[in-house]
Symmetry: C2
Subunit: 297 residues, 2 copies
């Protein structure tokens, strides 16, 4: 696949995800709640998780309508986690995606409720009553994958480790365990939710699971690199905050160059997993792995 | 049914719910998260929502294993909402069920994460991979009912209205709308989730939906009454806080005696709905409606 084609695909799919979020995150939820939810999820972000869902669904010939719902659900979980993570009792961040964070713009109470309602909305989007492309078995499977990746064993558990590890000297194993949960679980779930929309073969499922684990970790290694090498302006959020908060990172643990090498190793693991999958249409997943590692924001 | 039998049923079912929560809310979730989750949900509460699930499942001959999962899921949503609601940016309550609130005992960040993880866990409990009593169609149905009652159109939306209405003079229609969402939606969903575990007839479903709506509203009217008539010690939480926070209530709107009459009217509506249901085994649902109205804490 040519890079031009891939770029065009990215732009088109980002627009499709934006339109679906626009349609499904209600502006008219009571007392400003809908506005806070929309502020927290619309018009920003690279939409990496939805892109992984859509590419994995495409590679496994999943129904488009189902994949788009799964993509929106994953992004809602990601966005709610950012809304809560930015609050004063957590990271106390005032800037995100180049604009004031939700609690700065809408108040802390509304930000907490908006995050809570976004998590619920993810499961609403996955359980439509009138969508032929989403039979009940698929709905149940998607809800299960999403809940497990978002909960205590996944994202929320990783955040708890993150909170508890500020100022501590984690070794690489402990750091990897934290990131596998905190960001890796939802990235891996994105791939598997896309695959769940398509034809299931144990071989492809296992390979995509390994692909998702590799890019999930690569994403965090690159995040740690960007936090020390990029300006806040490029990132659209506060740079240098890991060091400021005295958080352990791949860069503080192994140094900048070794962290870069590690990110490329993980990219290669992702490519190998795709080759093992037996899927003929996995080119976009391969290019997404490249983008995860080569991004500059 | 004799009152003694009903009391024995209540005690036995509360113990069954407690044991299921004990088994399914993980103590070993990372970095104290599991302990905060368990602190927020175990060993307290009347378990009204689980009791409604179990009684409705019994009335419709639903599978016990499915009903117990639905009961735990609903209680996890209720408990997470209390954890978040008590936080300083919301009600800033320091006491709940007779003990310090989660953020007082575990810190604000952990309380927010625990609430988030409890919401995810509710959907994990509803999507077991190996439970013959919960076919995928039931899992999907339960996830959909729970998500809609917890989200922007239900509980979270009601809380947003509540936040926005402090100090405002709501009329009865606006107050009813707020409470239908804030507490009514999840109580009604409890009844319907129980019914979803059983045999579906449109007649029973419609009647149980009306029963759930009536007791949902009755619960809140009684809550407002208890807030002004009971001491904090009896309630196990801070009494008089509605007036203190200048929140509109049924008592401030219609006066104490009219609020009491309204609660009994709603109880009667619930009984009429049960009579319309055609269900022969609805005695426990009728007695639960009585308890909702006659409780003193």
């Amino acid at each position: 696949m040519k890079s031009d084609d891939f770029d065009a695909w990215l732009v088109a799919e980002q627009a499709a995800v934006e339109a679906a979020l626009e349609a499904w995150v209600p502006a008219d939820a009571p007392a400003g709640l809908g506005l806070a939810m929309r502020y927290g999820v619309l018009d920003g972000g690279k939409r990496l998780r939805p892109l992984l869902v859509l590419a994995a669904a495409e590679a496994t010939h999943g129904a488009r309508a189902a994949a788009l719902r799964a993509a929106v659900a994953v992004e809602l979980i990601h966005a709610y986690s950012l809304v809560h993570d930015d609050m004063p009792c957590m990271d106390n961040d005032v800037m995100r995606r180049g604009k004031p964070t939700v609690h700065v713009a809408h108040g802390e109470a509304q930000a907490m409720l908006a995050g809570d309602a976004m998590q619920a909305l993810a499961f609403e989007v996955l359980t439509p009553e009138d969508e032929p492309a989403m039979p009940p078995a698929l709905q149940a499977s998607l809800c299960g994958l999403l809940a497990r990746s978002a909960g205590h064993a996944g994202m929320a558990g990783g955040q708890a480790i993150d909170l508890a590890s500020i100022g501590l000297a984690l070794d690489e194993k402990a750091l990897r365990d934290m990131h596998r949960r905190k960001t890796g679980a939802l990235l891996q779930a994105s791939v598997l939710m896309g695959a769940a929309c398509g034809e299931r073969s144990p071989r492809a499922w296992d390979a995509l699971s390994r692909y998702g684990a590799a890019i999930g970790l690569a994403f965090q290694v690159v995040d740690d690199i960007l936090d020390v090498t990029q300006a806040s302006e490029t990132l659209g959020k506060t740079a240098g905050k890991d060091e400021h908060h005295n958080k352990p990172t791949y860069v503080s643990l192994m140094g900048l160059e070794a962290a870069r090498r590690h990110a490329y190793e993980l990219r290669n693991q992702a490519h190998v997993a795709l080759a093992d999958s037996g899927l003929p249409d996995a080119a976009r997943l391969a290019l997404l792995a490249d983008r995860v590692v080569e991004r500059d924001s």
